[in-house]
Amino acid sequence: MGQKIVIDPVTRIEGHAKITIHLDDTGQVSDARFHVTEFRGFETFCQGRPLWEMPGITARICGICPVSHLLASAKAGDCILAVTIPLAATKLRRLMNLAQIIQSHALSFFHLSAPDLLLGMDSDPQHRNIFGLMAAFPELARGGIRLRQFGQEIIELLGGRKIHPSWAVPGGVREPLSETGRHDIREGLPEAYSTVHTALEQFKQLLHQYEREAQTFGNFPSLFMGLVTPDGQWEHYDGNLRVVDSAGNVIADRLDPAHYQDFIGEAVEPWSYLKFPYYRPLGYPSSHEHCRLDNGMYRVGPLARLNVCTRFGTPLADQELREFHDRGNGTVTSSFFYHYARLIEILGALEHIEQMMDDPDLLSTHLRANAGINQLEGVGVSEAPRGTLFHHYQVDESGLMQRLNLIIATGQNNLAMNRTVTQIARHFIHGSDIPEGMLNRVEAGIRAFDPCLSCSTHAAGQMPLHLQLFNAKGTLLNEVWRE
């Protein structure tokens, strides 16, 4: 037998992370880090593949938000073909992205985070999961599962399958919505509305109970970035990027996403496979400068999208958005409110879908612009449930991929997630004893961001964690594993 090369850590695993916490001489937390220990390698192994295959391949990055990669990839493909896709195809892509936002947010809120919020951060971990939720709050749990199903079924109605549809392609989409499909969507809307209204009411009531968490779960100043329409409305598929600071000042607007390299830098740290994107004009914060207000740390995702937009564009969601903004005096800085923002986005997405339902273009058969390779470079950007997603492709004259750069939402929240871990650790850890509720609160702090790395492991109820506690000399004081 020839030589065997062992790759360690194991690739293509989702949801593996570890956290290290460093104490100073007095036993206080000096630093904490959130390490992502998995490596995927899509940017490398896609090199040499035909452009046409990219939506299908990159959708496989994630089983929960494959539609986001599908759309960003197809948009990068549109750019390289240098075509304007048919209007009907744009509308259908928007419909699928809204469905994706609904199903992914429903998963995050009801399946993954509601057990913490409704059963309690310190409740018995044996029951602090979706099954415990089903036992304690059967109607809400059922509604959440059905809400996710509603989003998934719209994706299936359009793309032929709930997960990894190969439906959006460079130049457009493959199939329209059918008349029966449209009927099914209309039928499902009332129940979906009812579920999200109930969840919103329940979450607002819980805010008093979780005041301490709201203050410590990633509550710090940072920049926020997201797509908006030219007049500042919430956007998820097209539009330009807007960056606001935590005081609500628009510090950059109408940024062309295709020129992302002008304003987004990507840093790497030796202790995590996840890159650390930052807002380039303000620079990368060193580990000692994370608390400075003028660094380039920014957040993306539901919280950021609601912070950057001036209105949602639908009546019910706009009403909720006003209340949301009031809670933060304009800009909400606590990552605990990602949950809240998610529910508002579900509501708004349902309204947008309802508004689209009478559009005859959804049934059109003119869906695909055919063209060859007309440009050697293209950038596709869309709002994934977790935040702004960039696919940047370079091809050769025949359409073979030469270079890819993928900037994933979870990566853009990496700096903020690390800051969140530090903040929670400083609040809850004093000395070498790890309080019982610590693990779950750190998890919940990370979970508020709904990072993609949690895709598989959370479904079982817990994220695998490796918690290490060091003293000032680097000696390991305590270590806790959670598989």
């Binding site: 040499g48 593949r49 035909p50 046409w52 295959e53 939506p55 299908g56 391949i57 496989r60 990894h164 190969s166 392609v169 460079p170 493959r174 055919n370 060859g372 025949s398 359409g399 073979l400």
Partner: protein
């Protein structure tokens, strides 16, 4: 024209003496898996999937190139044959880069279908992950060597049906690959007529229509069948 009688899978059948075991079995409704075989072009017995057991012989015989004989007793299904056939498919998967989930021929691929028919739920051999190239230089078609199983259907269909013979084999062993003309990019081939018969004949997603996305590559065989039928029935002899 002499007729031979023989037994295939306990079924007594008769066949013309120039027929192969595969043709006789197919005519009798007995299924034997194949991959390199394509009706209407010459048989090469390369893939070995159609191996059958013949009573009195310790060897296995490829049904596509073995002529029928009087009194022959043939078994097309046995544990041994099943094991070898599955092993052949596993070897094909291990030696190339076959990622069905993102392949243009997903759902329309003979290799994938064979793997499913033979119950190949995993590959027991070590994947080789060869470094192979994709050729998109042709205006209409593409060639992905990662998905090529070297069945040579493209070579035979181009030579025998189209008469262009742009395809051929080059290299030895693991470096074997099909080439166009003098091992040059397909798009620069002066002899290719762009007829598309190789695209239709390919059993996998190796040769495909440019612009195909996942699962879109359907092998349209009606043109090949039309030409084969016309020749066999002498429709073009004036």
């Amino acid at each position: 024209m002499a007729v031979k009688t023989l037994i295939i899978d306990d079924q007594l059948i008769s066949a013309l003496e120039e027929e192969t075991l595969l043709q006789a079995a197919q005519a009798a409704g007995i299924h034997i898996p194949t991959l390199c075989y394509l009706e209407g072009i010459s048989e090469v017995g390369a893939c070995r999937l159609c191996l059958v057991e013949i009573a009195g012989s310790s060897k296995l015989h490829p049904a596509c190139v073995t002529k029928v004989a009087e009194g022959m007793s043939v078994r097309t299904q046995s544990d041994r044959l099943q094991k070898y056939r599955r092993l052949i498919i596993e070897m094909l998967f291990a030696e190339g880069n076959h990622i069905c989930a993102v392949c243009v021929a997903n759902g329309h691929c003979e290799l994938q279908q064979l793997a499913m028919d033979l119950g190949m739920d995993h590959v027991t051999l070590e994947y080789q992950f060869p470094n192979r190239l994709v050729d998109l230089s042709h205006d209409r078609f593409g060639m992905d060597h990662n998905r090529c199983v070297l069945c040579t259907r493209c070579i035979r269909v181009c030579d025998e049906l189209e008469g262009a013979h742009i395809w051929d084999m080059a290299g030895r062993g693991t470096r074997s690959q099909v080439i166009t003309d003098l091992n040059q990019p397909w798009g620069t081939s002066p002899t290719c007529t762009s007829c598309g018969k190789c695209v239709a004949a390919c059993p996998t997603g190796a040769i495909f229509h440019q612009g195909s996305t996942v699962g879109e590559m359907v092998h349209e065989r009606t043109r090949i069948e039309f030409i084969v039928n016309a020749r066999q029935n002498h429709q073009w002899q004036f």
